[in-house]
Amino acid sequence: MTVSPSIPTFPGRILEVTLPAGPGGSPVVVGGQNALPLLPEGDHPHAPAVGMEIRTGPEELPPALAEVIGPFSGNPAALAQKCVSGWGARFLFLSLSGCNPDAGGQGVQDGAAIVREVLAATATPVIVGGCGDEDVDGRLFPAVAEAATRPVFLSYAEEKNYRLVAGAALAYGHGVVSWSPIDINIAKQINLLLADLGFPGERVLIDPLTGGLGYGLEYTYSIVERVRLAGLSGDAMLARPILCHLGDAWKAREASDASEPGWGDSALRGRRWEEATGLACLAAGADLLVCRHPENVKRLSEAAWR
């Protein structure tokens, strides 16, 4: 007996985006597919890529992270090397959180200098994140765009600042991450605004804002699925690779609380919390995952098949 399963075909194809590497490094290429994730159908020229986040600001690390990345605190360049050569991160997400006035308050030039150090320490592709303070980021992005010695991605451009971020990126050949607060329409709107500025689509990633497991992940899950379905169905502004930042998973009490006896080992649980968040994002259609636990680079890459 033969069974003919219904395999849907799509008219659209996700735009291929390259995150450039330095000399000797491997660029990350994502996109190019014309089918849903994880399934043996259609073309999947590139597997999803898993990268790691490096934060420059001081922070209290959950126990699961403290033991592995704690020792690199205050040394972004060393952590960058370890992420790439030790743990297999295919790209780095450098959050200049230390430039936030409430978290260290490093100057804009300090932030730009860290970007240069990290770019010098490794040849891997880099996405540079702002500090979250509108005013500081307004100065930080142009400074980073100018200081970066090779093309990076700037994260992120939203409705309020897109001219500034995209302007800085355009001038120096960088890419941008377009951000929207778990809303497919705003995701499309920010991409339309970028297109109006003449920003090339093959240098844009979509960050739909990733809620952590138990704290809004389901909303992100459906938005990622919808963005991907819209892109495959022919909506060019949404036919772009999706980046999911798993950092929020670590904000959950369940990811760090060691006081609940019935919840099992907190170090394993924390890692699992991020892993489950990332697996759900992959199932929905994410092309790039940014994780924090070194083990999860390997774990999530196991499911990043094409």
């Binding site: 409705e159 001219r163 809303d183 329409n185 705003i186 499309k188 709107q189 339309l192 605004l193 109006d196």
Partner: protein
């Protein structure tokens, strides 16, 4: 019946002005308060005061201005055309000869087939029986006096709704009724005072005396409740149901009405739901969409923005809570469509200098709905505002900082009637974008609720004074409506009043109105899970689905 004394009947208003020998039609119009465009001041230079004449006249057929075909069709220049005695001269004012949007408030189109004249009240002994049709709007009360012996409209009038002092929107008024001691009674007495004011003006303007025997009123649900003496409180809270949806006919006196309408029999149009009232039912009645097999959409762009979708078999209605931006509310320099309001705007892409027209032609003091619509469309078209409704930083020509933030100067202080700049700031932009988003999303939600594709809508009726004058290209540019081809739009003017007049003239039409209400489903958008999403989609210029608008605009340009 004897021949009526000589006079001039202006259509579509229906106002009869007694003949004044030797005077032009333009003078008759001025005397009767009929708005007519005459930019040259009646010196027969501009050729703009075109009307169609039926009856005995002389002059006004200047061959240098009118073509032989036009002259043969009865087109005349009102400033040179003089009616002759011995009968009624009917003068139809052409749409392009309408100067002010003012008229739209009291004018409405009835798309219904002319039924037999079947008034509820027949002649009684004492004098002419008269009827009053009322449109009780949130901000404006409008009325028409109808001769029940032949159905002719004798006069039209309007007045501000005195309830404005108790809150500009319906919710505020319910809160006023709940929280102010005696608030409910204050709302009611103000409404009655306003209604009596309108009646007084109607009688003053009427060439015919008589007794008012019949009143048909169309109002939103809150006003209808207040008029009927019932608390509107339940409308504000989930499940947003009115206490009454039908209002049994009553004598004016029992409703607390004094003056000439006290002895009349009052009929109030039934409500569809808390936020879709009898004004919409009357508007639907006038649109005639309930008689067609093809599917139509009906928009009432007023304070709430009601939308109805359907045909003769089924209808579904909602209120979009769009807000009054297109009535001039919620916008810093917004105003209603009175003389002095900027009604259309064009902006020079290079210099950011504006060209505009003003209702009544004088100095401008603010922006009315169509001016606001045009302005936003122009700001967007010229790149001064981006798709998100924000001013772009490049080239700040035409802008200055105000206490309400950065603003675009539409009219400079030197040119304005107020001695101050007429400006449009970012908060105004946002407010207009929100209003248009709510309206557009409401229409999309209606289509989605019944599972109908946009292409199946054959006609789009736009009721409200705004509808008569909006520039459809501007509407498409900013996404006020879903991207329908402009040829499908039908402006209705004050359709509520037109519906009320129809119900006065013909009792079968009134019955139709009653069955319309029970056969139209009220759809509560606040419990429609997809509405917020569609609203967000529409909160963009023209829309997040900009491809469809681009296609519709390209079609329009190609026509």
């Amino acid at each position: 019946m004897a021949d009526p004394p000589g006079g001039v009947r202006f259509l579509p208003e229906g106002v009869l002005v007694p003949l004044s020998a030797g005077e032009s039609l333009l003078s008759h119009a001025l005397r009767g308060g009929i708005p007519l465009l005459a930019p040259c001041g009646g010196e027969s230079r501009c050729g703009k005061c075109r009307v169609v004449v039926r009856g005995e006249t002389r002059g006004g057929d200047d061959p240098g201005i009118l073509s032989p075909g036009e002259i043969a069709a009865g087109v005349r220049l009102a400033c040179r055309c003089i009616p002759l005695g011995g009968g009624v001269v009917c003068v139809t004012i052409l749409p392009e000869t309408r100067p002010a949007r003012l008229a739209a408030y009291i004018d409405g189109k009835d798309m219904g087939a002319d039924g037999p004249f079947l008034p509820l009240v027949r002649c009684t002994a004492a004098g002419n029986p008269l009827g009053v049709a009322l449109d009780l709007g949130t901000s404006t009360l409008a009325g028409a006096l109808v001769d029940l012996s032949d159905g002719a409209v004798l006069s039209r009038a309007f007045a501000d709704n005195p309830q404005m002092a108790c809150g500009e929107d319906l919710i505020s008024r319910i809160v006023f009724a709940e929280e102010t001691p005696g608030g409910g009674e204050i709302l009611r007495s103000r409404l009655l005072a306003g209604v009596e004011e309108v009646a007084g003006r109607l009688i003053d303007a009427s060439p015919v005396r008589g007794e008012i025997a019949d009143v048909v009123a169309a109002g939103n649900t809150v006003i209808s409740h207040v008029l009927y003496g019932v608390s509107p409180s339940s409308i504000r809270r989930p499940p947003y149901r009115p206490v009454l949806s039908e209002y049994p006919a009553a004598e004016g006196k029992t409703l607390g009405i004094g003056g000439p309408m006290a002895k009349a029999r009052w009929r109030i149009f039934p409500s569809l739901g808390g936020f879709v009232g009898g004004d919409v039912v009357a508007g639907l009645l006038a649109s005639g969409m309930h008689r067609n097999e093809e599917v139509s959409l009906f928009f009432d762009v007023g304070t709430n923005g009601e939308v109805v979708l359907g045909n003769r078999d089924w209808r579904i209605a909602c209120s979009s809570s769009a807000g009054p931006a297109f009535e001039g509310g919620e916008v810093g320099c917004g105003m209603r469509a009175y003389p002095g309001a900027v009604e259309s705007v064009r902006i020079d892409r290079r210099t950011a200098v504006t060209e505009y027209t003003v209702i009544g032609g004088g100095r401008p003091c603010g922006l009315c709905g169509s001016g606001i619509l045009d302005l936003l469309a122009e700001l967007f078209r010229t790149g001064i505002v981006d798709r998100a409704g924000r001013f772009t930083p490049t080239g700040r020509a035409g802008r200055r900082d105000t206490e309400r933030g950065e603003a675009f100067v539409v009219v400079t202080a030197e040119e304005s009637a107020t001695g101050r700049d007429v400006v449009f700031c970012e908060a105004d932009l946002k407010s207009v974008v929100r209003t248009k988003a709510a309206l557009c999303a409401a229409a999309e939600s209606m289509l989605a609720a019944v599972g109908l594709p946009r292409e199946s809508v054959a006609r789009i009726y736009v009721a409200g004074g705004f509808g008569n004058f909006l520039d459809l290209r501007s509407a498409l540019t900013i996404g006020l409506f879903p991207p329908f081809p402009p040829s499908r739009f039908v402006p209705l003017g004050n359709a509520s009043l037109a519906g009320a007049i129809a119900a006065l003239r013909n009792r079968r039409r009134w019955k139709e109105g009653l069955s319309l209400a029970s056969g139209t489903l009220y759809h509560d958008l606040s419990s429609d899970p997809g509405f917020m999403e569609r609203y967000q989609r529409s909160l963009f210029l023209p829309h997040t689905d900009e491809e469809s608008y681009r296609a519709a605009l390209a079609m329009e340009a190609g026509r």
